[in-house]
């Protein structure tokens, strides 16, 4: 909280479904974001609760919150309480797994979400860091640091020079201000992930324009939670 102005609505907020801002609202947010990052049909979903969540997820309704988020229900929506029924009605199946061992580098409130269909798969690690705030810390093996507050573009690309420059150029030409970029690569392999956080919404045509560039494999646009 040191750099940014604390808003009245940071104190008097967020609007949420109880009981816990970290174990309920934060988990709903992570799952909601996971679904935005994986905007494809889901055949199989698995949610693993680590650390404190493994012990207390039932009492906090973290499981209901996660399923709600995966169904695209916002953390403040009272349908969150009925997410199991909504999932059953729509044929959405999922698995909830508590993992009592907490790997050392994981935050104490960690959830791992795996989503897949015949062609694609995502493994995402999120941390609920308090007061409903969250961080996505890992996407398919890439260590990232995404709060979900701002809108962001996730650009998966061939690891070569100049990608950041091209993407910034396209955004600038469309008068979209970049709030921050970060570049991630795995130890081996030629795939890299560029995360670009932006101050204003990015339209479909811009996303397609970026996606059509040769070194780019795919682009996912995630609207910010605070807009």
């Amino acid at each position: 909280m040191a750099e940014k102005n604390v808003s009245i609505f940071d104190i008097f907020g967020p609007i949420m479904i109880g009981p816990s801002s970290s174990h309920t609202a934060g988990i709903a947010r992570i799952a909601y974001l996971a679904r935005k990052i994986f905007p494809y049909p889901v055949d199989r979903a698995r949610v693993s609760f680590y650390g404190s969540l493994a012990w207390t997820y039932r009492g906090h309704g973290s499981d209901k919150a996660a399923v709600a988020g995966l169904l695209g229900i916002m953390p403040e929506d009272e349908r969150l309480n009925h997410s199991f029924e909504i999932a059953a009605e729509s044929g959405f199946t999922y698995e909830i797994v508590p993992v009592y061992e907490l790997p050392e580098r994981y935050h104490v409130n960690t959830v791992i979400i795996e989503l897949e269909n015949a062609e694609r798969r995502i493994v995402l690690r999120g941390a609920s860091i308090g007061g409903g705030s969250i961080l996505i810390q890992e996407i398919n093996g890439f260590e990232v640091d995404l709060s979900g507050e701002l809108s962001a573009l996730l650009v998966s690309h061939h690891d070569e020079v100049g990608v950041i420059a091209i993407v910034s150029h396209i955004l600038a030409a469309n008068r979209i201000n970049i709030a921050g970029t970060s570049s991630h690569r795995k130890e081996k392999g030629d795939e890299a992930l560029l995360v670009v956080e932006v101050d204003s919404p990015v339209g479909k045509s811009i996303v397609q324009q970026i996606e059509s560039l040769p070194p780019i494999y795919s682009v996912v646009y995630i609207p910010g939670l605070s807009n």
Partner: protein
């Protein structure tokens, strides 16, 4: 526009340089940092205030029963007390309302974290009870009521800037303790207190919560959290009663916040929300942990 303030003193000088009263400044500041108009900020405040009302009505209209069995619809009991010792309508409503909102939270209802989910009943409970019990001719209009929520939030900002509002970091003094100070400030503002007296009332309330442990049974936001909302509402009422009688705090608000931070830093981890100390490890506390521990074999519909 100047938007940062860390202390009451900072805030006073910002108000002077911006030439605005406290409530007016807080709205203008919010509009500025969010890129919105003052009307939009006020509308959002009103929307949130109404959500607190809906939560409290819900908590009073039907007993709230939680999954763990730790929350048992006590607000309904309090709302119609047969053997109350104190029968002052404001006091009895303040504790019933605070409890009602906290129970709704514990049972998965819609609330507003204020400043956290576990402490979400204290400010709305106190302020709504005051508004509901004004005699005719002394009604509180929406603008004044909104200002009280702003002032309460401002106290939260001051604590967040120099200490913390997370039980996991500072213990419950930083959650329910902070909410008590926020409620005292909001109530003082409704009672017409001047700038200095508002923060003095907050100091009085906060001092009385220093050192409060966070030791929730089974790691759930229920015991001691839910009932603590009623106690801290009473704490805020006492603080403002003292203030109005001219009983002021020897230690100024900013120094109380410094003390809160230092005490939070020296609290053992077991008393900072990890559910490994205090009430959580009493025999009864542990029995609840066992009871809710095993995962359900499958998620039943409708739970």
């Amino acid at each position: 526009m100047k938007t940062r303030f860390h202390t009451v003193q900072d805030l006073a000088s910002v108000l002077e340089s911006e030439n605005l009263p406290l409530g007016g400044y807080l709205v203008a500041r919010e509009a500025f940092i969010q890129g919105k108009t003052a009307d939009e900020v006020n509308a959002e405040l009103d929307r949130r205030i109404q959500i607190t009302r809906a939560a409290l009505d819900r908590g009073l209209s039907a007993p709230q029963l939680s999954f763990s069995g730790l929350t048992r619809g006590n607000a309904v009991r309090l709302a119609a007390p047969e053997k109350a010792i104190v029968t002052d309508p404001f006091y009895t409503r303040a504790i019933a309302y605070a409890l009602a909102v906290a129970e709704v939270n514990a049972c998965g209802g819609r609330v507003i974290s204020f400043p956290t989910a576990g402490s979400c009943g204290i400010v709305p409970g106190t302020l709504w009870a005051f508004r509901d019990t004004r005699p005719s001719g002394e009604e509180i209009d929406d603008a004044r009521f909104r200002e009280a929520f702003l002032v309460a939030s401002c106290v939260g900002i001051l604590i967040a800037e120099r200490a913390t509002l997370a039980g996991a970091e500072g213990g419950c003094q930083a959650e329910c303790g902070a909410a008590g100070a926020m409620a005292a400030a909001g109530l003082a503002s409704l009672c017409g207190c001047a700038f200095g007296a508002i923060f003095d009332a907050a100091a009085l309330s906060l001092k009385n919560s220093l050192g409060l442990a966070c030791d929730p049974v089974a790691g759930l936001v229920e015991v001691p959290c839910v009932k603590r909302n009623a106690f801290l509402a009473a704490n805020a009422l006492t603080a403002v009663s003292l203030e109005l009688a001219g009983v002021t705090s020897v230690i100024p608000f900013d120094e109380v916040v410094t003390a809160l931070k230092a005490i939070g830093d020296s609290l053992p981890a077991n008393l900072r929300e990890n559910a490994q100390g205090g009430l959580a490890v009493t025999p009864t506390g542990l029995s609840y942990r066992e009871k809710i521990r095993d995962p359900r074999p499958e998620a039943p519909a409708g739970v």
